[in-house]
Symmetry: C2
Subunit: 275 residues, 2 copies
Amino acid sequence: MTYCVGIKINAGLVFLSDSRTNAGVDHISTFRKMIVYERPDERFMVLLSAGNLSISQSVREMLQVEELREHEDAPPMTIWNARSMFDAARVLGSAVRHVYERDGESLKQAGLDFNVSFIFGGQVKGEAMRLFMVYAAGNFIEATSETPYFQVGESKYGKPVLDRVLAPDTPLDAAAKCALVSMDSTMKSNLSVGLPLDLVVYEADALKSDRVICIDGDNPYYRMLHSSWGKKLREAFDSLEDPAWDGSEAPSPLRVQAARHAPIRKIANPNERLI
Amino acid sequence: MTYCVGIKINAGLVFLSDSRTNAGVDHISTFRKMIVYERPDERFMVLLSAGNLSISQSVREMLQVEELREHEDAPPMTIWNARSMFDAARVLGSAVRHVYERDGESLKQAGLDFNVSFIFGGQVKGEAMRLFMVYAAGNFIEATSETPYFQVGESKYGKPVLDRVLAPDTPLDAAAKCALVSMDSTMKSNLSVGLPLDLVVYEADALKSDRVICIDGDNPYYRMLHSSWGKKLREAFDSLEDPAWDGSEAPSPLRVQAARHAPIRKIANPNERLI
């Protein structure tokens, strides 16, 4: 599997991907899932991919040459000349559709879904930053301030911390930290997501980024975060009041039966009816 | 969906279930998923169910009358006379198989999987506590000290905290708190899991429990836990060092390229080759 997350906040964009792929648990490999497209001071885009590796690699290859035409006489549009991220996402969607036309039928005959999804975001000069999630049908959705992030792959383990932390005014470094904590929780509970990680942090309107880093188990910050987060989470957990069953003077007693609901069904013999 | 968790530690057992069911997001109902079987000082068992509600309700009904015979002349074994939790789990497995025989073919014709799973645990006098996960085929696995919990339903959101906190020597109240935190994280990120919650805490060798409680949004302990956990998690997150990109004197610098891995692929023009 895979876990990738893309975040759009006022201060910038964060992209983070793992690099594990597997065809069964006995066939695990490392493939990097992030590509950065950068023409400094003009456009900066990041692509994260999840799903069938043969499809996502083909789409990435195709994207280099993909041209979209509005009509026959229109000049070809590529990710390198698209005037907006929306148009660039359309070019990506078109590349996905071309791969589907080429491989979809054969995959179906082999009993395989055309399973692929992308997070694609960045900024084109003259426009605000934008973040998209592109589906296997080449259609896409865009992140808004209410939903400032997209995930692809093994997304559930790492979702609660994103939901609790991210808001449009989250500082950029905190958003990067949040993505790393989300990834760390995912790797803790799911072997199909693994190091090294690829991280890009993009500052709004910079139209380039040198905060582009491959992180493995030796990275000092990641090691600190991995051990500190586990410890701090544990401390936070320990500092939560334990449930008090017996002392009636507990400030937050647990022993209060929900008034609007029946007690839990307790059965004492085989002849009792359930309802 | 559903989220249920059962925990077995040295000090006892914890069972927690939500009560939301849905057939599509526009058909959400409340169904309780926990049943307690108790004959004080002789046997104490708890059943949690997930999956297709018609199947799990049928299995619960059937379990009341299910009899398993080793051979034709053997006396019938039920959950009420089984001499071990293992045998009781076999009776449950047999009930699942009877429901499959009755409904499996019709469900298949309707395009539905025979989708059901159970957490079943407790203690029979003369034996240690045991905890099982019973599958749709009636087969089952047992929790050990390395894996002291089972989850059914929407299990991924709430798994990281269980993985970080639970160990055989975890105190019983801490395990109950951990189950509630795991449930709270799940409800935060997934609408298909919802209040009220059913909680049972069983102390080893008690062979009965009065720590059996239905918890809704008015429960003082749950309200405290819900608000404090979010706040403490946020504090723990904020107290983690932010990634330092620029200051070389940061104690845990993030800007260290993984030595064994290539930098992230940065593409600057359409003619560049990917590999």
